[in-house]
């Protein structure tokens, strides 16, 4: 098996899907000859030609709207939005259109498509190259929202997303693009879009996380282990629809839960995790169901390392719920 970065695994996933199905095509701003600003689409135009990997005008609304039409008419579009921060001109197309097409046409029309986009902080991108907007999209029935944290999952989840009959927003944690490496199988394989991943097992505290927060939580868990606290870390990876049974089982196992994300806290993804546990597993809880998140402020630049949850903040929360 090849050892790839998460970025290379995305690239491999795209190539594999394009080789297997000539209906798969990739487009967006600068994705063609340049290969995308992060090089996720490098080599696609040369291998598959301009018809299957091409640049579009600078309009996210146009990119997603066109993808919907292509998907309706038999193609399998994979649209790139250069940064998740720039997805909002396409919000209407995603929320009002892609996500509701099947429902409003009684299944006559569907939009099997993928929107890939890098998200999250850690590259000193300030307000508009750092945001984690997953909560806006997880509030959208009809859409699937997926985010990998390992190269293996990046390729397998991406291929599954491309094969999926419904629209999938594929959020790529850009902080991990080049910083994580791992084994990636050759050829085509999929990772189920309805399961969580147990990153490490433990029996005293459960930490739920996803994207670039996974390695942060792993580090915090290792440090907690040194002081005798055994921590289970769960990578949620398909945020919507969520594997609620998996979440409840992991929560009940320890009775002490911390959920971690980069996005602001209020109405953030962790609020849903807390609510599910409060409604369906409160009797198992030994400590307040706790969140470690970005602050309820826009994303700063110089001080991003204070904004982003780091292993110290996660460890602090683990210690608090453990001592409760």
């Amino acid at each position: 098996m090849a050892i790839l970065t998460l970025l290379q695994a995305v690239n491999e996933g795209l190539k594999t899907a394009m080789r297997d199905d000539s209906n798969v095509l990739v487009f967006g701003e600068d994705v063609g000859p340049k290969g995308g600003v992060f090089l996720a689409t490098e080599g696609l135009t040369s291998e598959f030609g301009e018809e299957r990997c091409f640049d579009t005008p600078l309009s996210e609304d146009g990119i997603v709207g066109a993808a919907i039409g292509m998907a309706m008419n038999g193609l399998r579009p994979v649209a790139e939005i250069q940064f998740q921060d720039f997805i909002f001109p396409a919000f209407d197309q995603i929320v009002s259109e892609a996500a509701k097409l099947r429902y409003r046409s009684g299944g006559q029309y569907t939009a099997p498509m993928v929107i890939r986009t890098p998200y999250g902080g850690g590259i000193r991108g300030g307000l508009y190259h750092s945001q984690s907007g997953e909560a806006y999209f997880c509030h959208t029935p009809g859409l699937k929202v997926v985010t990998p944290s390992t190269p293996h999952d990046a390729k397998g989840l991406l291929i599954a997303a491309i094969q999926d009959p419904d629209p999938v927003l594929f959020l790529e944690p850009k902080a991990l693009y080049r910083s994580v490496k791992g084994e990636v199988p050759e050829g085509s394989y999929t990772v189920d879009l309805s399961t969580t991943r147990t990153v490490r097992e433990g029996d005293a505290v459960t930490v739920f996380c996803y994207g670039a927060m996974v390695p942060v939580c792993e580090k915090a868990a290792e440090q907690a282990e040194e002081s005798g606290i055994s921590v289970e870390v769960i990578d949620l990876r398909t945020l919507y629809p969520l594997d609620e049974q998996g979440v409840l089982a992991a929560a009940k196992k320890t009775g002490r839960v911390v959920t971690v994300h980069e996005a602001p806290r209020f109405c953030g993804y962790a609020a849903e995790i807390s609510a599910i546990i409060a409604e369906r597993a409160i009797e198992y809880m030994e400590a307040p169901v706790t969140r470690v998140t970005g602050f309820d402020t826009p994303f700063p630049n110089t001080l991003e390392h204070h904004y982003l949850p780091d292993h110290r903040r996660v460890l602090d929360a683990i210690e608090r719920v453990h001592a409760f």
């Binding site: 005008p57 720039f86 000193r124 110089t302 001080l303």
Partner: protein, 372 residues
């Protein structure tokens, strides 16, 4: 063939026929020095980025005349709605290299308190240079709104709204021009056609013959101008500004120029810009072209560029050193300015952040009590 003839004033040897720029010798020299300042700032920012002192910059080489020419047609009571590549307009109007470097270093004296990426400037003085937003095109209808407010409030000002060729594909471009046309807003739209939007040449952006023609659909008169000809850009902008001040509505200007550098310090243009194209535009460098004009008026001799440029470099270097020596913003700047008053939940999060810093130590950014 475009209906829009490319307007030029300066020929390649600096001749300007009987053109009257309306500028005094001192004003002409201020325009010249502003272009060299842009170049010095640009060159310094590139070096600072390469050596790891700052994280990012946006090159401006090649488009100095468009920025300075357009800025020179404005009064300080006018408003600029800039794109991220427009800092030449701020320099022309006297924003100091030091204030700009505070932003590049994201320090405590930066107007946006280290919240924005480098080159995302915001200035209120000496001219309104409105806080730059990364999402392309968002500022275009905002500029129209500000212009409409000028009209409703009986102000004698105009809004200059600047964007790139790529920006014309954004939603904001279309709604902005449409509104301005209907409202006859005192706005001047400056489309800087610098050949590329990151890696994408203009023919991938639009099938229309250039960008000036896009004004027609919105009932907005347009001018196509040589963007490397400072006097022609100034003249075209002045015409648009005069029309706006007279209550005759907006103008679209397409300034044809070329981005001689990469899109940003993260970009390698040699992968997609043909060398012949760069060579061709190198010949059209706006700086020597303006120098030839100054020389014909007895304002410039060989060697002046080096002298002036090294003066600019010294000024910019001093600004960079000062900005680097300035402390970083304090932790409280994460939590302030979200609202006028800090709401309780944000206050609590700030207190938690200070508490964690006290207990777990680490990295600069403050300490002590949460002050808000």
């Amino acid at each position: 063939m475009s209906d829009y003839e490319l307007r030029t004033v300066l020929d390649s040897s600096g001749g300007a026929g009987d053109h009257d720029s309306g500028l005094s010798d001192a004003e002409l020299m201020h325009c010249y020095r502003s272009m060299l300042m842009v170049r010095a700032f640009d060159d310094t920012a590139m070096k600072l980025q390469r050596s790891g002192r700052i994280g990012f910059s946006i090159p401006n080489r090649g488009i100095e005349a468009t920025q300075v020419g357009a800025a020179s047609a404005l009064r300080t009571t006018d408003w600029i709605f800039p794109s991220y590549r427009d800092f030449g307009m701020a320099l022309y109007h006297g924003v100091s290299a030091t204030d700009m470097m505070h932003n590049m270093f994201g320090n405590a004296l930066d107007a946006s308190k280290g919240r924005q990426m480098p080159v995302h400037f915001s200035f209120e003085e000496p001219i309104h240079f409105v806080s730059i937003s990364s999402p392309i095109g968002t500022h275009i209808p905002q500029g129209v709104g500000a212009a409409h407010a000028m009209k409703l409030r009986g102000e004698d000002s105009v809004a200059l709204i600047s964007f790139g060729d790529g920006g014309t594909s954004s939603l904001g471009f279309h709604s902005g021009l449409n509104f301005a046309g209907v409202w006859k807003s005192p706005a001047v739209f400056l489309c800087q056609n610098n050949g590329y939007a990151i890696s994408m040449p203009t023919e991938k952006q639009t099938a229309s013959d250039g960008f000036a023609v896009k004004g027609e659909a919105y009932g907005i008169p347009a001018i196509l101008v040589d963007g490397n000809d400072l006097l022609a850009v100034r003249q075209a902008t002045a015409e648009g500004v005069a029309r706006a001040r007279a209550g005759d509505g907006p103008t679209l200007i397409e300034a044809k120029t070329f981005r001689m550098g990469g899109h940003s310090t993260s970009d390698d243009p040699s992968k997609y810009v043909p060398k012949e194209l760069l060579d061709e535009w190198e010949e059209k460098d706006p700086v020597p072209r303006f120098e030839a004009y100054l020389a014909s008026k007895g304002l410039w001799v060989e060697g002046d560029r080096e002298t002036l440029y090294s003066g600019c470099m010294a000024e910019v270097k001093e600004a960079a050193d000062l900005a680097q020596a300035t402390p970083l913003p304090s932790l409280e700047t994460i939590f302030s300015d979200v609202y006028e008053e800090v709401p309780q939940h944000i206050r609590s999060q700030g207190e938690e952040a200070y508490d964690l810093l006290r207990r777990k130590g680490d990295a600069g950014g403050g300490g002590g009590e949460f002050p808000l």
